[in-house]
Subunit: 444 residues, 2 copies
């Protein structure tokens, strides 16, 4: 098994073969106000270095809110600047307009501007408080205090999230049903990240995406990786450097391995972000990038901070040990043993991975015990089959989006939307309205 | 409001007016083996001083277990030496014999021999990791690893606990339904300790117990406290010292206040432990001590460690701010402001109380969202009305025991048992058998 190199590898992100683009412009910016909340640094130790507080950023808009009857829509931020998610989750503001909701996007600790120890946050030992449990407790405290401050104690709260943020939103409903009436967990790989599933699934599904467009595509990719390997074996490092415009000439098998991992990751991103129109979520991305990868490679935004900070999470709780093997997928066989993971993680972050921890903490094989959770997934998304694909109970519901990529349903409506995502959003809106109505009864 | 002085006051525990008795003998000792588990010190920080492990004690017996079909009965230890609970919870072993269960009693971190930092455990900052969340994570890890080691992955787990231990068992089912099929939470004041309820309830109910035996009783107690007050006002400290056999002569209003708090606490214990036969749970206790307090005061065991270590929990998460006012109860008016609590807690333990935290963490007003929890309470117990007294759903069930004191139902059967506790135990046994059967289907 090989840990997703987006989480593990950092070096190539500095390189110029991905040309960094200028500041991104968004049309129809939602009307958020940026605020800060005085958050507890360590919720689970009363005498720690984390006895203090830090400023957690959140975005808020009351524009659509019916203060008397409207719910609260709360996005559980994931690994990145909270503006990135707020500007790429138009479904939430559209739904807020329909259902007259207050909207909050809360930033995840250690990302964006929500740094528990300022610039020291990524040092050892300060980085150790980057855990799922601490992040959930942040959201819980923020929700309960904002409800008080806003006089909104009778307003039902619905949480939303995509990808890792979707995991967090499902966990919030499991963990805090007193605060959260329901969760839309979009493209949340809750099973595979807990080590439950087939480690070959991920890269097999990336491969399927490319085969779906053109059967000859995967053969071409295999050939290209073989060519890289041939050049490496002949130590034609100059050729490799010029082919990929690398800043530094590769000089060892380790460098070549890292290059291959990074290339594998580029194909993975194309599959994940295979939206039917051009996007700016993870750098500028053309419509259907799986069809047109050249445009992408020229414009992918350098997203250094997201990848590097996420790597301590992959080092501790989140299990991203997916393998490619060149048999069930089109990529070179790349393994990453638990011993290698441990060595990397303890050297880089001073931490020890805890296999099985996420499964123990977040209900493992008993997800059906929860209620009021939607697990939505796009069939084009390689993360989809690491999540919940069939409904587990009348209120733990799977929604599968035939032509959807990574949490397409969270994006705002678009003329190019396939029928499947339009239908999915309608089902989601109806379920959320039901949850809100039920919770309103409970809170009264 | 005045915090229960059992949790706050420590000084009088050294005093000889309560004569310490010799080692306690138990008949029919259950056949437990004492073992230790290598437990994680800090579950929620990957780089802390708690990166290491400590030995958590647990007691185990396979004597009754049908390895193929039998469940696991797991006691979630509370504030004390785990043997105290194992030797005073005969219902669990009796039920294990009936239902052929493996029995485990797990000790709570920071109590008994389960000290995360050895003799340094009660220093600042080491004591800061004494939190409910850490204790629950200990139990979760212990359950999941013991199930693996014992080849018992298909065995349903039922958790049991009394008092604070009962709170923990309810929380375990809420928090870890993947590991725990159901919980018997006996005499668990889940509402009052979360700051939800009337702060006058506790001492009012202590008073009712005494009035129930003889209406003149509460008047006598009021008179006695008035006498103490009169002596104090005349600075007759010699008389106070000899009357209560105090080690040191009181010398200030503060000392007198502490004495009054300690006396109030003695009456409280008599009400809590008002069992129909003599017990050894909290020192030697005659049958119906509320009827015969003199015998008790002569023999109450000095239980210093339990009270003093529990005080950091009352200083952080557990809200024990119950007030007496001499109007709705028979005790002197004693208040303890949040400012006084903060001052004591920060000076003594270097911690800051977090009001509302328990309510946020453990489902506050949404306890009905859970499933498979029994809240049992005895009508004689002053803690009872701080718990759940009416069923919240078909599977979140309240059982009220007319003649029961503090978790009488957890004790082994006795000829003196009232019909109400016999009936309660039958209902509990039936519900537990149903949960086990359901969980067995899920795990297969």
């Amino acid at each position: 098994s090989y840990c997703l190199n987006d989480m593990i590898l950092e070096k190539p992100h500095d390189c110029s073969w991905i040309r960094t683009i200028g500041p991104i412009k968004f049309k129809n910016e939602p009307p958020f106000t940026e605020k800060y909340f005085s958050q507890i640094v360590d919720h689970f130790n009363f005498n720690s270095m984390g006895n203090g507080t830090f400023n957690q950023r959140y975005l808020i808009t009351e524009k659509y809110w019916d203060r008397k009857n409207g719910p609260i829509f709360f996005y559980t931020g994931n690994e990145g600047d909270i503006w990135d998610f707020a500007l790429n989750s138009g479904f939430i503001t559209e739904l807020a307009e329909q259902q007259r909701a207050l909207v909050i996007f809360a930033e995840h600790r250690y990302y964006g501007k929500s740094l528990p120890f300022g610039q020291e946050s990524f040092n050892i030992p300060q980085v150790g408080l980057l855990t799922v449990e601490q992040a959930l407790a942040d959201f819980a405290l923020l929700i309960s205090q904002l409800k008080q401050e806003l006089g909104a104690s009778n307003c039902p709260v619905i949480v939303f999230g995509g990808s890792y943020g979707g995991m967090l939103s499902a966990y919030m409903r499991q963990r805090y049903p007193n605060l959260v009436a329901g969760a839309l967990a979009a493209s949340a790989p809750v099973l595979s990240t807990a080590g439950m599933g087939d480690p070959r699934q991920f890269f097999r599904d990336v491969t399927s995406d490319f085969e779906g467009y053109a059967p000859e595509c995967s053969a071409a990719v295999r050939g290209a990786f073989q060519r890289v390997q041939d050049l490496a074996e002949h130590q034609a490092y100059d050729r490799l450097q010029s082919a990929f415009a690398l800043c530094k000439k590769p000089s060892s098998p380790g460098d070549v391995r890292q290059l291959k991992g990074f290339l594998r990751n580029a194909f993975t991103l194309l599959a994940m972000l295979d939206y039917p129109y051009s996007t700016h979520f993870w750098g500028d991305m053309p419509a259907h990038p799986v069809k047109e990868p050249e445009a992408e490679s020229a414009s992918r935004k350098n997203n250094h901070s997201r990848a590097s900070v996420a790597s301590p999470q992959a080092c501790t709780e989140i299990e991203l040990c997916y393998e490619s093997n060149n048999v069930t997928d089109m990529f070179p066989a790349m393994t990453f043993t638990p011993a290698e993971r441990l060595a990397y993680c303890s050297k880089r972050w001073g931490v020890t991975p805890r296999p099985g921890w996420l499964q123990t903490q977040y209900w493992g094989d008993a997800l059906s015990t929860a209620s009021n959770i939607i697990y939505s997934n796009g069939d084009l998304d390689p993360w989809a089959n690491g999540g919940v694909r069939t409904s587990l109970s009348p209120s733990v519901v799977a929604i599968n989006i035939t032509d959807g990529a990574h949490h397409l349903d969270l994006r705002g409506s678009n003329d190019a939307d396939p029928a499947s995502v339009i239908s999915a959003r309608k089902t989601e809106a109806n379920l959320i309205a039901q949850w809100v109505a039920m919770e309103r009864l409970r809170l009264k």
